[in-house]
Symmetry: C6
């Protein structure tokens, strides 16, 4: 139950939800960044849809940086690396889009992701959140992993009917239409500058 | 009925029309741009004809920038990203050419695309609009999505005969020969500078 | 009959002739250019022989720029895009070499291609014109498209015997050995500077 | 028994453990670095999971350079080469992640790897150590090679039960959760600056 | 008989000899060069052995530029294009190595290739000439094309026995061991600076 | 018998030993270098193991340049080309590693390779020499080619038993553990600066 808490203790890690052959699973998206090159390195045996998803996430965050509280020039002459462990397990699909965007936004704002939050949703270049499949399995996996808040696409709201009542009772769901809403739910508040008495 | 309106509320999104296995469909082309690199990033599982189409759209807009009200140097040392959701659905063909060009022109002029307008047509490097297939299905999809204006290639004008009369009655068709005409129909007027009393 | 005229009204478009599964056809090569990068972008589903042909055409025009009335430094830090519509139709073969070179020379001199002229011929790096196949079908296609002047390789001169007499009577043929001769036939005269009375 | 000692005598070489078709084996990861380019060259017939693993190792060390006693700017405008002999034997999998990271950290700190230490573990971008397979075979191979200290992922601790008692008696095991702990075990202390009497 | 003379009238074209499915043939290697980039563009449907051969030819000429009367800095920040017409015919093999090197040396010295000379031979990075196959067919093709001088590898000297006596009587053979010897035979003398009376 | 002497007369060529389908053979590795780019061009139809081997050889020589009497900055902004004739014969395997490293060291020190020396051995990034296969065939090929000194990996010393006594009697074997030892055996002494009386 403590894995998500440990993983997301530092800025740059977001908790996603996936469908696997045998149900749902929690995955962690890790983001780091280094000066130089403006490259996007992707690891974790990502399929081509998921690689595109990462490019979309980066462009979406960058294109509307101001809206997310980021300086434009944070991205200039800077490379990013997104990794989705475990390294040997192939992964694909667009539904980690908002998780990738959130990991990047967390990294760049320095605000950690709330450790109770899991999320699933395709993101578009304009920051819209599109529906995904397998909502029931994903929610069950989030529940099993001890997550209490799940960000879902607005257009998947109806799929919550398939989630058993006792699970729904123990969780909060956050249907969203835009990346802005995702970040509002997912990111810890910015650290307040400490007042210093003089 | 409100999806196209929401999607195209910001500059850089244009509404296209596609033929799918089961009829026609509306698709949205999203464009963003960042300083640096002069790269063209393409996502949305685009096939090679459609990737070329995107390159043609960018070159066509750039080559005749002045004609479309754009400064030449808008393109210098600047990269573009075109995305066509949904991210997991393969797409191909040349008929989104004018939609891609329109998304780029919208982005660069800051003029949103009119939310009632859908469009289909291949574009050439010189900005000519070439005919496409599947006009009837595309028009029906536009109608179903609540669009009221459809930009079509001049050389597809005869295909409008196949569109049922009651649909034609509720829509306006704009046959065009050039990208200039597409943009005249599709883009909202440039925001007028506000008069400021002194 | 007016398509070639419309297409070639602006500098950078040349009219080529191709053999297809069902006879001959007219194709248009479009060239544009932008500052930066010295890249050569090729679109139109070109096969690898035709892509090489485009590289040869660019190098041939550039290597002997002076001979064609072009400044050397026109090419420095400048990228080119050659497109051959229609975008979804695969094309291959070396015989559009002189058409590509002509489109580039037209673009760079600002002299439009004469709208009555179609052409076919392989070009070498030194600007020689090599023979091609399918001359009869190509000439018939040019005739059907309303073209009246056809540039052909000198070494295809004998193949004109296969063209029906009534077609030959209505057309002029220009057998050439070098790219210089192609451009002499194909390009409109340079616009004369307007005399201005003082 | 002296191979690991010889191999790791210089900074930049770390001793890993692998599973092969016929049991376990010891492998050596060699790292070098040269100024210029910020490239990552990988040799040793590495499979794509292992290549990604190397990229993760480099990013992980770089992203938290300060934590490992490294200056940030050590990485700027510098290329790295990781090699895993023997050169003709294909290798794959994520479990050399911490070995690669250790070879890099050793190279950059100038601290050699302790020659009694072998290690196995996947590393994430945030420096977490994930579990691996084949622990028993790997430990037996380490034992046979004369290694006395084995770094293993915390989450593989239970797998030590499968290792024969007499082997366990002769070795020390170091279960770790983070790359920091790996480096604490694996690297020789930094050379102390020599006191110079004045 | 006049093709080689016409082709090689300008510097940068050398006459090679090839074996085809149906005997031997003459081929022409064309070289051009433009400022910028240090790229090597290769066209003519060259196979991978022949592409490597072109790289070797360029490196060989560059590495010993002084020996061939070339300034070192001729190569700096300059790109080369080698083309072997006809553009649609696949070609492969190492035996055009000296022809490619000669075309480059001709281009860079401004000395045309003697129009009576054909040549065949693999070249190494150090400018050595290695033996080739099909000497008889190549010599017969040279003879048929009206060439009178054939440069061959020293180690193919014995293969001249297979050439019919009447052909040998009408041709001169130049067995060589090094690229220097090739260029001595193949290039026209450097144009003498014209004495100008003052 | 004189081929190796001729080949290695200039710095940058080293004599290697290979196993072929029909026994052993002598091969020559040629190295050249030009200013600019920091590329590594590889020709000779090298397989991917052998290409990696070349990268390792370059990195190994560069990483310990000082140990081999080379200035670090010799490598900066400089490209290398390694070629292994004959150009049409595919080659693969790691055992030319020390030959490639020696060719590079010879080129960069200006010290020719001793013409009596052949060598075989895999090299690692740290300059260690690993064992190879086919020692007997390689030694016989060296003997047949008139070489008298053979550099072999220390760990292949036992394989000398398989070499016929009369061959062993006529040759000297140099088992080595490191690239330093290879170069000590293989390179001619550095030309002594001529004493100049003042
Ligand atoms: Ca796929
Ligand atoms: Ca999905
Ligand atoms: Ca395709
Ligand atoms: Ca289409
Ligand atoms: Ca092909
Ligand atoms: Ca053709
Ligand atoms: Ca794989
Ligand atoms: Ca011929
Ligand atoms: Ca091949
Ligand atoms: Ca050959
Ligand atoms: Ca291989
Ligand atoms: Ca071998």
């Amino acid at each position: 139950f403590r894995e998500a808490a440990e993983r997301t203790a530092v800025p740059g890690v977001a908790t996603g939800l996936a469908v696997t052959g045998s149900g749902g699973d929690v995955l962690f998206v890790e983001a780091t960044s280094v000066p130089g090159g403006e490259k996007l390195v992707l690891t974790g045996q990502l399929g081509d849809v998921m690689k595109e998803s990462a490019q979309i996430a980066l462009s979406a965050v960058r294109a509307r940086a101001g809206e997310y509280g980021l300086e434009d020039d944070l991205f200039e002459n800077r490379s990013f690396h997104l990794h989705v462990p475990a390294g040997a397990i192939p992964k694909d699909g667009p539904s980690a889009g908002i998780t990738m965007a959130t990991a990047l936004a967390s990294l760049l704002t320095g605000r950690p992701v709330r450790h109770t939050v899991g999320m699933t949703g395709e993101v578009t270049l304009q920051g819209r959140v599109l529906p995904i499949g397998g909502l029931k399995q994903k929610v069950l996996a989030a529940h099993a992993a001890g997550l209490t808040d799940v960000v879902i696409p607005e257009r998947n709201r109806a799929d919550l009917d398939d989630v058993p009542q006792h699970v729904r009772d123990e969780m909060a769901f956050h249907p969203v239409m835009s990346l802005s809403e995702v970040l509002d739910v997912a990111l810890e508040p910015a650290a307040k500058p400490v007042d210093v008495a003089l």
